[in-house]
Symmetry: C2
Subunit: 440 residues, 2 copies
C-alpha cells in the first residue's frame, strides 16, 4: 500500500521525539498501520539548530503555511503550539488544502476547536489531537470511541503535571510553594513564566476539550471556573493528611440539573482514591459513566516522548483509514455548552481560618456558619507551639489557625458565610477555602 506522507511543522522536543520514534519503530509501525509512514517535509523556526535527529532525505520548507499546502503531503502534523497566530493559520490552510491534521495544540483547540472541527468534517478530513490532553494517556480515544455506548456523568483529573509536581514536593518535604516552584523550573517541569500552569489555565484548556467529547457539547473554555494553586500552604497539606485527604489540582466537569459544571481548582480527595495515588508530573483522568462505571487512566502528562507517542497514535489511525468525528459526534450537531453556575456547586468544604484568639471569636464563627445552614463535620484548632510557651499577656489576641470541614453545602452559602466571618473581624486574613471532591 502507498506510504502515508507527513509534513511536520515544529521540531522542538515533541517534533524531534516523533522523528526518532518513526526512525526507531518504522518497520513495526508500518506493519501496524498496514502501510509505510514517512515524514517527507519539515519546517521549524531555526534550520541550523542541532537537534540530534536524522533529517536526511526530508525536504525543508521555510514556513508552516507553505508546508500545510504542500502537494506531496497527506497529513499536516502541527507541533508549533499557541492559540491563534502561525499554528492556527497553518492548520486552516492544511484543512482547506485537503490535508488531515494531527496537532498537540490545546490552546488552539480550546479557542477554535469547534470551527476547525466543522471545517475538517465538511472536507471529510480528520483533525486529531490525542497529544493535546494528558500526554501519553489515551483519554481522547477512550471518550470518543470506548465510551460510545455510555452517558458520562462526570470526568475529572490531574491535568497539569507542573502543579502536581509542586503539590507532591510540598507535601513530601514540607516545603513552601515558592521553593517547589523554583525546583520545578530548575528541572524543566515549569516554564520561566509559570503563570499559565500554576494559575490553572493549562488544565482549563484541557478540561474544555474533554468536556466537549464527554458531554457532546461545544467547547467553552470561558465557562470554566478557574483557581490555581498559589495560595496553598504546607499547613493545608498537613491538615489534608490529618483529615484523610490529599490535595490535588483537579479539572472537573460534571452533568448537573442546570447544565454542565466545569471547574479547575485545588481539591481534597480521599486518600483511598486512585487519583490520590498519582504523584509528581504524572497525569490521571477518571471518567464516570452509566455502563462502564469508573475508568481511571494515568500516565506521563508531558514530555517529548510521551507526547510523540500520542501523535503517532493519531497518525496510525489516519494511516489505517480510521475516521471518527473530531469530538466524537459530528461537530455541527454538538449542543451549545450550557453552563452550570459555580454558585450552585454543592459539596463539602475545607476551611483554614486565621482566628484571633479572643473570647467569642469561635462562637461567632460557628454562629455565622449555622446562619447559612452549614453543618460542621470536624473542627481542628491547633495552637502554634511558640505562642503556647510565650508569656500569657503576649498571646491572647494573636491569630491561631483553625481548620473546619463542612458537610455538603453550596458554594453560595459557604462564600456568604465566609464573607460575613471576615467582616466580623475575628479572622486576621482572607480564609483559605478548598472544595472536597467525593471520589469513587
Amino acid at each position: 500500500m502507498e506510504a502515508l506522507r507527513l509534513g511536520l511543522a515544529g521540531l522542538g522536543t515533541v517534533g524531534a521525539a516523533l522523528v526518532r520514534l518513526l526512525d526507531q519503530h518504522g518497520d513495526d509501525f508500518a506493519a501496524r498501520c498496514g502501510r509505510p509512514v514517512r515524514i517527507v517535509a519539515v519546517t521549524a523556526r531555526d534550520r541550523a539548530k542541532v537537534r540530534g535527529i536524522d533529517l536526511s532525505g526530508v525536504r525543508w520548507v521555510d514556513d508552516p503555511e507553505t508546508l500545510a499546502r504542500d502537494p506531496e503531503i497527506d497529513v499536516f502534523v502541527e507541533l508549533i503550539g499557541g492559540a491563534g497566530g502561525l499554528a492556527e493559520r497553518a492548520v486552516r490552510a492544511a484543512l482547506h488544502a485537503g490535508k488531515h491534521v494531527v496537532t498537540a495544540n490545546k490552546a488552539m483547540l480550546a479557542a477554535s476547536g469547534q470551527d476547525l472541527a466543522e471545517i475538517a468534517e465538511a472536507h471529510g478530513l480528520t483533525l486529531a489531537f490525542e497529544a493535546a490532553v494528558a500526554g501519553a494517556i489515551p483519554i481522547v480515544k477512550t471518550l470518543r470511541e470506548t465510551l460510545a455506548g455510555n452517558s458520562v456523568n462526570r470526568i475529572y483529573g490531574i491535568l497539569n503535571g507542573t502543579c502536581n509536581y509542586i503539590l507532591t514536593r510540598m507535601e513530601a518535604e514540607e516545603l513552601d510553594f515558592d521553593t517547589c516552584l523554583r525546583e520545578a523550573q530548575r528541572l524543566g517541569y515549569a516554564e520561566a513564566d509559570p503563570a499559565f500552569d500554576i494559575e490553572g489555565y493549562d488544565a482549563a484548556h484541557k478540561l474544555a476539550i474533554l468536556t466537549s467529547i464527554a458531554f457532546g457539547t461545544q467547547i467553552d473554555a470561558e465557562a470554566i471556573y478557574v483557581e490555581g494553586i498559589t495560595s496553598i500552604t504546607p499547613a493545608d497539606l498537613e491538615a489534608a493528611d490529618e483529615l484523610g485527604y490529599r490535595l490535588k489540582l483537579l479539572g472537573i466537569a460534571s452533568r448537573t440539573e442546570t447544565g454542565i459544571e466545569q471547574r479547575v481548582h485545588p481539591a481534597m480527595v480521599p486518600k483511598s482514591s486512585t487519583i490520590a495515588s498519582i504523584d509528581g508530573v504524572t497525569n490521571a483522568v477518571a471518567v464516570e459513566s452509566d455502563y462502564a462505571g469508573q475508568l481511571v487512566l494515568s500516565g506521563p502528562g508531558a514530555g517529548g516522548n510521551a507526547t510523540a507517542s500520542s501523535v503517532a497514535s493519531d497518525i496510525a489511525d489516519i494511516a489505517r483509514g480510521i475516521k471518527v468525528p473530531t469530538f466524537g459526534r459530528a461537530a455541527r450537531s454538538l449542543a451549545p455548552h450550557q453552563r452550570a453556575a459555580i454558585q450552585t456547586h454543592a459539596g463539602g468544604y475545607y476551611l483554614r481560618l486565621s482566628v484571633y484568639d479572643r473570647p467569642g471569636a469561635f462562637a461567632s464563627i460557628a454562629t455565622r456558619m449555622a446562619e447559612h445552614g452549614i453543618s460542621l463535620e470536624s473542627i481542628v484548632q491547633r495552637r502554634r507551639e511558640p505562642h503556647a510557651d510565650a508569656p500569657e499577656l503576649l498571646r491572647p489576641h494573636s491569630p491561631q489557625p483553625v481548620f473546619l470541614i463542612t458537610y455538603e453545602t453550596t458554594e453560595e452559602a459557604i462564600r456568604a458565610a465566609v464573607n460575613q466571618i471576615f467582616r466580623d473581624g475575628h479572622i486576621a486574613s482572607a480564609p483559605q477555602l478548598i472544595r472536597i471532591e467525593p471520589l469513587g
Copy 2:
C-alpha cells in the same frame, strides 16, 4: 446511512445489558457511529426466561450457528462463552459467512485466537474482543491502537476481580481465605466452582491475549506459569503491610533476553504504586513502553454493564468502518511465542517459613541462602504470643513464623535454597514463597 444489523447470541447478564444499552442510548449511539445500530435477531438457551428486556421486533433464532449465518445480520455478537463447543462453532460459521464478530469469550480466544484471527483477516472481517479482557477497561484498544508507535517492555495487572476481592477482604478484615471466598460466592463475585478464578487460570487467559497484542507474538496460554491465591494467609497480608507492600494476584508479561516471560501469581507490590490502590473487584492494567512510559488503566473488570460497554465499543468501531488487525498486526505475521523459562526469572522474594524453635535452625537457614548466593534484605521473626506465655519446657521446639525478604536473585536459586532448607528438617511445613514485583 444504512443500519448496522446485529445478531446477538447469549442473553445472560451481558447480553441483556447490551440490549438495554442500545435501547437507552440508541439515538446518541447512532450519532456517534454515524449510522443506526439494531439488534435484528437473537438466540439464547431458554426462550421463555424472564429477562426484563424489550425484544419486541427482534427475531428469535433457535441456535447460534443458524444465527451466525443469518443473511440479515452484519455482525455476530457472541456472548455464549466457553472454549470450543457451541460458541466457537458459531463464531467460525459467522466468519465463513462473511460476518464480523464481536465476542467477550477469553477462553475461546486463548485457545483458538490465532486461528480465528487468520480466518477473519483472510475474509477482510473484524474479530473484536475488548470485552474479553478486564471488563470496561479499554486495554485492547490501548495496546492495539494507542501504542502503535511503541515497543512494550512489560505489561502487568490485576486481571481477576474475584481474587482481588478476596485479597482485599482478607487484608481489610484479617479474615482467612475460605471465609472470604464464601463471601465472594454469596455476593456473586465468585462461581459455585471457583477453581478457575482462584487458581489463576482466568487471569492467565486474559494475560495470554494481552501478551499477543503487546509483543506481536502468537497467543500461547500454555506457556504461562500459573499460581493461584489459595495458599495466601492473613499472616502473609499482615507481613506485606509491615514490609511496605500490598499483596495482589498479578498477570505479568515482560520482554527478557531469552523470550517473553508470562506469569500469573500473587505478588508483593509497593504500597506507593497505583496498582496497590486497586481494591475489590476492580481490575487494572499497567503497560510500560519506550515512548509512552507507564500507562495504568483501571475500572470495573466484570459485570453485565461494564462488559456490555466494551461490546458496544467494538460494535461502534465496526459501524464506523474501523479496521485494525485482530491482535494489532496481521495475524499471519505474528511471531511464534518464545517462552522465557520461569527459572530465569530474576527478582526479590518474600519467604514465610515455619521454623522449629531450636538452636542452630536459623543459622542453618541463613547458610543455605548464602550457599545459593542469596542476600537477605530483611528478616522478621515474630514469636507467637500464646507460646511465649507457655511454660518454658513446652515450647522449645514449636515452630515459629519467620519472614524473609531477599534481594534480587533467580527463581532457580531461591527454589534450590528453599528445597534444601525443607530437607534439612528445620521447617515444619512447605514454605510460602511470594515474588516481589518492582513497579513504577
